[in-house]
Symmetry: C2
Subunit: 440 residues, 2 copies
């Protein structure tokens, strides 16, 4: 049997502690499967004395990730610290430069510096694996980077934030408001005390930026993502969606168009009989549409200590099983030096169906005016309906819901502006994009 | 750049022709991604002169797969012939013995001889890849063999036969009979002229046997699978399932139990709000439940020339990207020499819920008798209902439907035998097992 693979772990939070436990408890199985032992020889964390329920007594302790990366006797540096800069970035870079393999779960770091890190890894012929960085336990990185080799991807999209999907699912199933569901998510530990990063879509955007590069072979462009969170989704939208045969999900979508690549994160209506519409709660799902394989959808846990540790362990095992030297798995699917520039498609050019909910004063001619604004902007309607409130007086504001056939973002914005100028709107109009899976 | 990877392809049917076309058309992209060119240097097929819409003029032709495997100047032998024995088996064995990497889409060969072939591959330190052999384009082999390293799998199950899923979906959506849907599937090319291999469950069983070995690290045991096809599923069952909140799918299920491993292929009722219930038509889906990762579900095309070729190409690319010599990816997840004996769990010990449909003479006391037979065998009922036919005369046979709480196969068989002995049954009772996804 070959020499043991020596692993250093920086960060002993939930994921790190889970990883240590699994590698220790399953040493024999791992050695059999990988053809060599996997041995944790170095660790570092903020607090050495904290009880994590794991035994690190025989493992060399380092006071900082940077020192572990620079000095430890290891083959693989595992970064579970988090953050786009600071210790995580410095130690990963140091480890790669030293010629160590690196495994990380750090989406922020990859979204910010993935190409630079990939270049170093490829120069040094080491692996930089990051399955856990996107959609937790779902092996979407492996699918894009390995299984789909030779395919031209046309679209990748998914539910990549468990907090948002949990909130939207509870709103729908229990008729609760966004605010109530957020509180419940916080109580259960599914949402942070400051939930903005999740519910505004930033977390999904980091993950999407990584998938875009893997799917389309372009530079990472995490700052060029159209972003819209779920804070404005009301229970009324969810009910209207259900009536029309849709469910609302926060999707990250990257799509190849004639004018460039669309990257967008926004609440999305998906047909209720599509498979992805059935993905509820904190569960994640990622779909990839490509020209040879067709459509592939993967559903699984997007977070959690064990699920994330499982993905990290899979990455470590891939390194243990591979032969040393001459690594040819490009970190980002395409070698870093060959990544094409990212060309952003204008959001105004986005084509698709739209759901538009308007609250209007009860006035003669409103229906006709709305229809005219749509027609003047070349938008053809799939349905237009007024939702009566059974107990409302006749002169209270009415809700009108439109669903358009495929049109452009530009046309919809112009039509909505024209409607706004007519002065019968009560409150802001709601606009939700519709996304249709290709095969299922 | 490293030397080109030289590939020999045996079999130029739909998949083989698609593979040749893709490798030729995407030569530059593949070379960039893999760090070396992929070059087809040898081919063989039954008929040299047939027009396949591909250019094989510059490729060395061999008259038999065996000669190609033995003599061609290649690094990888790709077997797309099919069949558990004969040319496919002989040529794969010859190629491995010669120290060539092998890629195959041949489930029958692996189900019959997978362990023997894995042993040769591991002795020779070459790769034997077979992603296309199970669920076509869905990367389930990679997930089990690589991503889930370190996990203990408790259950793997899936929709792995597009013909059956197409028939069941059409029966449900259009209220057509099994026979009509089978005819339609044959007309559209989704079913063979002799459909027995698909509709009796044998095709699913081959695939399941391979997954079982990957999931549980046991010897392949394709002959020890409980098998029940879909020919007895009636439109009445499908309607009753829908009323009860279930859909009927042909599942292959392998499950770890206290007394061994269950391998079973049978029509199965899955809750209609589970994600897998939403998988319609020829689409396949495979779910894996494991202790660290949790549940993972993958949905995609299970057949078709291009989707299968995509999986084969992914396997070839993995070889192109890997370093020569010292391969440590065990062919079947666990090294062939370390596979445990397969211990079959008795089907009688299977635990789960059951759907039982009885047609009974309209006689006083039948309901009470059925309830007594259930109780005497320790079966507790979740629901019992009589489905009236609005236009039926009062003395015509009645349909009674039972859904049990978790019980054993043994108890259900005994209860049904006891009911049969009471002589009020009209026709054979229908028994369908219920399967519940763990997480979604």
């Amino acid at each position: 049997m070959a020499d043991a693979l020596k692993v250093g772990i920086a960060g002993l939070g939930t994921v790190g502690a889970s990883l240590v436990r699994i590698i220790q408890n399953r040493a024999n199985e791992l050695a059999t499967t990988c053809g060599r032992a996997i041995e944790i020889t170095a660790v570092t964390a903020r607090d050495r004395s904290r009880d994590r329920g794991i035994d690190i007594s025989g493992i060399t302790w380092f006071d900082t990730p940077e020192r572990l990366a620079a000095e430890a006797d290891i083959d693989v540096f595992v970064e579970l610290i988090g953050g786009a800069s600071g210790a995580a970035a410095d130690s990963v870079k140091a480890a790669l430069t030293r010629g160590l393999h690196v495994v990380t779960a750090n989406k922020a770091l990859l979204a910010a510096s993935g190409v630079e890190l990939a270049r170093i890894a490829e120069e040094k012929s080491v692996l930089l694996n990051f399955e856990a960085a996107v959609a937790g336990g779902i092996p979407v990185i492996k699918a894009l980077r390995e299984s789909l080799t030779g395919n031209t991807v046309s679209r990748v999209y998914g539910i990549m934030n468990g907090t948002c999907n949990y909130i939207l699912t509870r709103m729908e199933k229990e008729g609760l408001s966004f605010a109530d569901c957020l509180k419940e998510a916080q109580r259960l530990g599914y949402a942070e005390a400051d939930p903005a990063f999740d519910i505004e879509g930033n977390d999904t955007a980091h993950k999407l930026a990584i998938l875009t590069t893997l799917a389309f072979g372009t530079q990472i462009a995490a700052d060029e993502i159209y972003l819209e969170g779920i804070t404005n989704i009301s229970i009324e939208d969810i009910h209207a969606a259900a009536d029309l045969g849709y469910r609302i999900k926060l999707l990250g979508v990257a799509q190849l168009t004639d004018s460039g690549i669309e990257q967008r994160v926004h609440p999305t209506m998906v047909p209720h009989d599509s498979v992805i519409a059935q993905v509820d709660g904190v569960t994640n799902a990622v779909a990839i549409e490509s020209d040879i394989l067709g459509e592939l959808l993967m559903v699984g846990p997007g977070a959690g200590g064990d699920a994330t540790a499982s993905a990290v362990l899979g990455d470590i095992a891939d390194i243990a099983k591979s032969s040393p030297g001459a690594q040819r798995v490009p970190v980002l699917g395409t070698p870093a030096a060959s990544l094409a520039p990212y060309k952003r498609a204008r959001m105004q050019s986005h084509e698709g169906g739209y759901f538009i909910r308007l609250t209007v004063a009860d006035r003669t001619g409103v229906f006709a005016s709305i229809a005219a604004c749509m027609a003047e902007n070349g938008i053809s309607l799939e349905s237009i309906m007024q939702r009566p409130k059974p107990d409302a007086a006749t002169d209270t504001p009415k809700t009108i819901i439109l669903v358009t056939h495929a049109t452009t973002e530009d046309s919809v914005r112009k039509a909505v502006d024209a409607i706004k100028a007519e002065n019968y709107l009560v409150g802001e109009p709601q606009v939700i994009r519709i996304e249709r899976p290709k095969a299922f």
